[in-house]
Amino acid sequence: MILEVENAGFSYSGGRQIFSDITFSLADREVLCILGPNGIGKSTLIRCVANLYTLCSGSIRLFGEDLSGMKHIEIAKKIGYVPQAHEIVFPFSVRDFVLMGRAPHLPAFSSPGNRDYAKADEKIELVGIRKIANKPVNEISGGEYQLAMIARALTQEPAILLLDEPTSHLDFGNQIRILEIIDQLTDSGIAVIMSSHFPDHAFLSSDNVAIMQHGSFMAYGRAEEVVTEENLKRTYGVDVSITYSRDVDRYVCVPHKSGLCRCKPMR
């Protein structure tokens, strides 16, 4: 196990509890997908693992070492964090933006050199955004920005990648492209924790799935066992059908909608 989270609990100082008693672990090359309704604390949990917040109870161990005793820079060499997209004031070029991932590997008083640029370019190539490498980062599309952030996290050369809703705000094609890149990453030896709004994505690219509800994990285990009709109904409050599709050779998850459907079945 490269990451072990035990009885983790978090609340904002003096505020309400966000989650408690969360236990899970991450194996080498594993993809863990965290599902759950809006505002349930998925992002907070990911931020705790990224050491941006400190747990109020429980512990997180990274390669056997307690996270709270580690320095930021040591953690940054092992964990890459891709936050949700936000506005950037200064128009750094995509290349300069990706290059920032070299920070944990550089001494405090130095600037990146040719080798660091080469590493950044390699990751830019990997996620397929070479064409926009010289564009300002605030003039590219949401999908490209997400890819740029992933490239930056990869430039850290981490063992674990944390993705906070990597596919929200992205169109259909870009969502799948991100999932394909996640597959590539696990092939190259990186473990991934991501939060998502799409139960389907759990089938598409996860080993394990956790469903977060009422401040802890309601279900946690293999995707086929956890993403069930009852669990999704309890989580999202809508009926969901999970059927096996021969066309794509996997389970798919289709939400129901009350009222009539606007499209007529073709006969």
Partner: protein
């Protein structure tokens, strides 16, 4: 109106692409400052011929060599030597230090606060220094004490701002800015009070002139006093400059990339405050330089702090030299620097805001 703004935009696009044309850019960054340095020594009320100026400048260096190889015999008058070495040269050096310092401090703060509209006095250093100077003038103290008082109150104001912001726990940079506004307002009020009680014929004008900024009475001793801290703090900022990029993107992301953001912002605040306090204590309050010059730098080399910070340092020196040349040569009486930087800076900044829509920031 549309036609006019369209024209302005078109012209400005042309200007920018001209400025970014590599030979022009290289000249602006490396060539302008040495030229301005010499030209500034030519200019002044007392007429010294350019050839004398150059001989005067070259003589101390060249005459170090054995006299039988090359030697410059003094063809200038003692008055000329005095004007160049005791009046113009210290002033030119002081302009370079003050301009470079304010520009680099402003650029660092804009990254730290993730805001392109921030200037070095955002945390109250100028207001504090202004009060410190006003108080010392009111008490009839000497010029050295006035400078020290300005320096100390400038640092004190930022220290208060910082402590005030620490007493809250949320979003530190926003609270820092708000605390800065509070502290600046407080010290401005104290300055106004000293002006109110100051003797209107002697001390009030002195306070007013100090607050408007001037390098007219600067001496070598002033330069020796401010140069070491100002240059060391600038060097520290230049050493950590690439990491300011990460702060400019976001605190959380910077931390996830292994930066100790709290310590780094303390570092930047300490260095920038030291630089600004040094500049203000010999030159008085000079606004706009620290706000505009970083933007000039971004026009030339883009937002990457690895290039921007050294470029801002050099451009700030050039900008201040031009301002000071205008201040001492345009009219028969000295024009305070603060007035000139605002008169030149405000329209320029309006133009910059217009440029934003074209998208370079």
């Amino acid at each position: 109106m549309d036609w006019i703004s369209g024209r302005i935009r078109m012209i400005s696009v042309k200007i920018i692409s001209f400025l970014r044309f590599p030979p022009v850019r290289t000249f602006l960054i490396f060539g302008v400052l040495p030229i301005l340095f010499v030209v500034s020594l030519f200019l002044g009320r007392y007429d010294v011929s350019p050839s004398h100026v150059i001989q005067l400048l070259a003589a101390p260096v060249i005459n170090l060599m054995p006299a039988n190889i090359i030697h410059i015999n003094p063809s200038w008058t003692p008055t000329e030597e005095n004007v160049i070495y005791q009046i113009r040269l210290p002033r030119v050096i002081a302009s370079i230090l003050v301009g470079a310092g304010l520009a680099i401090a402003g650029a660092a703060y804009q990254g730290l606060f993730k805001n392109p509209l921030v200037s070095p006095d955002i945390l109250g250093v100028s207001s504090g220094a202004g009060f410190g100077a006003a108080l010392a003038i009111l008490l009839g103290l000497g010029s050295f004490i006035i400078q020290m008082s300005a320096f100390c109150f400038g640092i004190l104001a930022v220290a208060i701002t910082y402590l005030l912001s620490r007493s809250y726990r949320t979003t530190p940079t926003l609270i820092l800015v708000l605390s800065g506004i509070i502290v600046a307002a407080f010290f401005s009020a104290l300055t106004s009070f000293t002006k109110l009680v100051a003797d209107p014929y002697e001390k009030l004008p002195a306070i007013t002139f100090w607050l408007m900024g001037s390098l007219a009475s600067v001496r070598y001793s002033d330069i020796l006093m401010i140069a070491p801290p100002l240059l060391i703090a600038s060097a520290v900022l230049i050493l950590i400059r690439w990491r300011i990029n990460l702060l400019a993107v976001g605190d959380d992301e910077a931390r996830a990339l292994g930066i100790d953001t709290k310590r780094m912002s303390q570092f930047i605040i300490l260095c920038s405050t030291l630089i600004t306090a040094c500049a203000v204590c010999i030159a008085g309050i000079i606004g706009w330089v620290g706000l505009i010059v970083p933007h000039l730098g971004r026009m030339l080399v883009g937002p990457d702090y690895k290039k921007l910070l050294p470029v801002a340092f050099v451009l700030g020196a050039s900008y201040m030299l031009i301002i000071d040349d205008i201040a001492r040569n345009l009219t028969s009486a000295e024009i305070p620097l603060g007035i000139l930087t605002a008169i030149i800076g405000a329209p320029f900044f309006a133009y910059l805001l217009n440029r934003r829509s074209v998208g370079w920031t």
